[in-house]
């Protein structure tokens, strides 16, 4: 298992952003869905070792991120795209990706080729020497994705990766996600349900800091069948139904077991 989380919480003052999340996942593309303020970004930031948990157990790539050396090893094998990624306006695209490759402690001799490969992968080869300040929002997002995957991470965490991408780019990006998910654990936080349906093998739905659904996209779709849940597509109806069930006062078996999940306690 590349991600092992048990009863993880994170508080900001009196607000509990993440309230006892438990999940385990291995290679594949894992979708993290939920409304704004559900705790997706806080969970992702803890998995990125940027934010320490308030309590609970977190193991990434078989290591404990609470200690210096294991945390450094995790970070060498990690790719992270934050929701709001800052850019150095004077950097070229290639310089930007190279900078983070160096900060990930990739062997310097391997960096130029890794940068070139990654830029071609995200379709920015023709913009490699363009300054970041000259790029569109979608291109900047792709530059962000490039820095996340430049080290061929074993654990890739993407927060709203398709924001700003046009439909054609999103289709290409989903194909890239599926490819990356063959060998790495890819966790994608998104509010775009169609991204999950197209790319994810596993999905979790968060609400008020808890995971209220955990299963396959097909299982989420099944939640919306024969209900009056809102949504234009089956997955959207499943999302709405699962969310409505979680919000109702009646206690429900909120977590289902996905094929690759070995531990999924009730939310």
């Amino acid at each position: 298992m590349n991600v092992e989380i048990s009863d993880l919480t994170r508080r900001f003052g009196r607000t509990e952003a993440v309230a006892g999340v438990s999940l385990e996942t291995g290679p594949g593309v894992f979708g993290l869905l939920g409304p704004n303020g559900a705790g997706k970004t806080s969970l992702l930031r803890m998995m990125a070792t940027v934010l320490p948990p308030t309590s609970g157990r977190l193991r990434l790539l078989g290591r404990d991120p609470g200690s210096f050396r294991p945390r450094r090893e995790i970070r060498r094998r990690l790719g992270y795209l934050p929701q709001s990624l800052g850019y150095y306006p004077g950097f070229t695209v290639a310089e930007f990706v190279e900078y983070f490759a160096l900060l990930k402690e990739m062997p310097p001799g391997q960096v130029p080729r890794a940068v070139a490969t990654t830029l071609e992968q995200v379709g920015l080869g023709d913009k490699a020497r363009a300054k970041l300040r000259t790029l569109s929002g979608g291109m900047l997002r792709r530059a962000g994705i490039a820095q996340a995957i430049v080290n061929q991470p074993e654990l890739l965490l993407l927060d709203e990766p398709t924001a700003g991408l046009d439909p054609e780019q999103r289709v290409a990006f989903r194909a890239l996600l599926r490819d990356l998910g063959q060998r790495a654990t890819v966790v994608v936080s998104t509010h775009l349900v169609e991204d999950v349906g197209a790319a994810c093998t596993e999905v979790a739905l968060m609400e008020r800091g808890k995971i209220v659904f955990h299963g396959s996209p097909a299982e989420l779709i099944a939640r919306g069948e024969d209900t009056a849940a809102a949504g234009d597509a089956p997955l959207e109806r499943g999302y709405s139904a699962a969310l409505a069930m979680a919000r109702s006062a009646t206690p429900t078996p909120a977590v289902t077991k996905a094929p690759t999940v070995t531990k999924a306690p009730p939310a």
Binding site: R57, R75, L78, G86, Y87, Y88, L103, E105
Partner: protein, 233 residues
């Protein structure tokens, strides 16, 4: 030409192109970055150092202008203004060396193998060293007494440590600058009221030990504020 449209069958053009692109797109680090990389044994840390916001040309020019103004004022009035101005300038530079709002990709940098605490330390030391050098040059050029020329280095250390501690605890460079400036102004005015001399804050040898103790305490606070707590296992 007829019959020459296909290349040799064993040539992978994509692979060749990536090799070419890797060479064309690669950045050649300057001598300073190469030297820093050798010294720090980390090309990533060296790159992080040379893009320190308060070491960029615009900031250095502004620092130079302030110190030259202090130098001219010192020569014109006979009052040593450079030692009074230099600690505040250095404190601001240290506070703006690294942090949210200062470094564009700060959030991302915190997830990197090269620790952000190390980046902060290296940048803060570099800014401190450069400001000390510039301040000493300006102070020496202004023709003040030797005791005053070097006397402000210890207060400058305390002001920088205060700015760094405030910036790391609050996670705001602006708060760090405000704390450093306010602390220094209060110290200068307090020393003047107590002794009747404007320059007392940098010229009074009895203040050296309190400055050093205060700087050490602020350094400890900054170190504590930048730790990643254990206990998440």
């Amino acid at each position: 030409m007829n019959g020459t449209d296909a290349g040799p069958p064993d040539v992978d053009l994509d692979r060749v192109w990536l090799g070419v692109a890797a060479q064309v797109w690669r950045r050649q680090p300057g001598w300073l970055e190469r030297a820093a990389g050798r010294l720090l044994r980390s090309p990533g840390l060296a790159r992080a150092l040379v893009i320190t916001p308060s070491l960029l040309p615009g900031w250095l020019i502004a620092t130079g202008v302030v110190l030259v103004a202090g130098l001219l004022a010192t020569r014109g009035t006979g009052t040593p203004y450079v030692p009074l101005v230099a600690p505040a300038v250095a404190g601001a530079g240290v506070a703006y060396a690294y942090g949210p709002g200062t470094d564009p990709a700060w959030e991302l940098s915190r997830s990197m193998a090269v620790s952000d605490r190390m980046v902060l330390l290296v940048r803060a030391l570099a800014v401190f060293g450069l400001n000390a050098g510039l301040g000493l040059a300006a102070s020496a050029a202004s023709g003040t007494a030797v005791a005053i020329t070097f006397g402000w280095l210890v207060p400058m250390t305390a002001v920088c440590a205060l700015a760094l501690a405030a910036a790391t605890v609050s996670q705001s460079s602006d708060v760090g600058v405000a704390a450093g400036m306010a602390g220094w102004v209060i110290t200068v005015l307090g020393a003047r009221v107590a002794s009747g001399r404007l320059i007392a804050a940098v010229a009074d040898a009895r203040l050296v030990l309190p400055y050093l103790v205060f700087a050490a305490a602020c350094g400890a606070v900054a170190w504590y504020a930048t730790r990643i707590p254990r206990g998440n296992t």
